[in-house]
Symmetry: C6
Subunit: 77 residues, 6 copies
């Protein structure tokens, strides 16, 4: 019964950023569950600046959530 998202807590900001990237990708998998279809699209959008910037926007939105969840890691040394 493992979960892909057991918690929003991460040890560091960098791990929080990685989690934000993961959160951005899962919605795409849930909307297009066919891995081959996603693989077909990848070379296309990975060469498309507009798509890359749009991905970065989704990551930014999730990072805001993860950062708030972690109290902005203010106590991290």
């Amino acid at each position: 019964m493992s979960s892909w998202l057991p918690t929003l807590t991460t040890a560091t900001p960098e791990e929080g950023y990685d989690l934000a990237v993961k959160l951005a990708r899962v919605a795409i998998k849930l909307t297009q569950p066919d891995a081959e279809a996603r693989d077909r699209m990848r070379p296309e959008y990975a060469e498309d600046a507009d798509a890359l910037i749009a991905v970065s926007q989704v990551v930014a939105t999730h990072f805001a959530t993860v950062a708030a969840a972690n109290g902005y890691w203010r106590d991290t040394p």
Copy 2:
């Protein structure tokens, strides 16, 4: 008198994410109530990286709300 959205509270972050996906989809249903019309569009946007990223952006916005509603599940073991 059942509601499709009785509460924003979920037991886990993963369930909160699923709720965010649902919240993103309902607005589309309310704007295009014709299920057949939605089905016609699906194969198209499911193969379109830009559309998938845009869906992911909507999910991210709703996930921020659901996460805040749940106090970021900080007490989840």
Copy 3:
């Protein structure tokens, strides 16, 4: 002297969602006050996945506001 927006308080999350949809639509009416012009556009964007996703994004942004205004309906039974 009735108002289309007397309050952001709603009894349930579902009513809050409906209010978010309304908030999204009013801005469109204020920018394009001609009802016939809006009706001409409707069949077009209702068949356009990108437009439907964009509407869903606006609803998500308003839902965040309405949810915060209602304390996320945490006291709803």
Copy 4:
């Protein structure tokens, strides 16, 4: 020494929404100060569903700010 934005406080949610619409428009005026140029564009984007939805998104973002500034008008009778 009058200001176009003396305060974010409004008496009602509806007035707050109107202020959000105003806040969305001023950025466009500051970027395109030529009123004639703006008038030339108006018929075009007022018939364009994508542009109307995008305007609605900007209004939604400003409305979130104005609503927070007013404590969501929770004390409004």
Copy 5:
């Protein structure tokens, strides 16, 4: 050692809005540091409603931050 952004505090909401406009522009300068290249683009996007609305969206996002930083100027007379 002057800074282009010494503080997010402004005396009034209107000054806060101007700061939001500035915050939106600086990211463009940092990504396209060539002033001539920016000047070449300006007439183009200043006549493009979609671009003007997108600029307004960025300003809205920054204004939310500046407004929060200033406690929404609630104490302004």
Copy 6:
């Protein structure tokens, strides 16, 4: 074991803005890890007003997070 993101804390608002720019760029690197592919795209989007505005939007979203993390630098002299 150095991290590219050890903390969200910065001494000044300007450094916070620079961090927001960095946060926007890293998501692009993680999605398109090939530096040459990114270099090929750069001249293209650096001349494209829409892309520059979209980058500015991502920066704005990250800046909101960084600013909140730093208490809006209210104690900065």
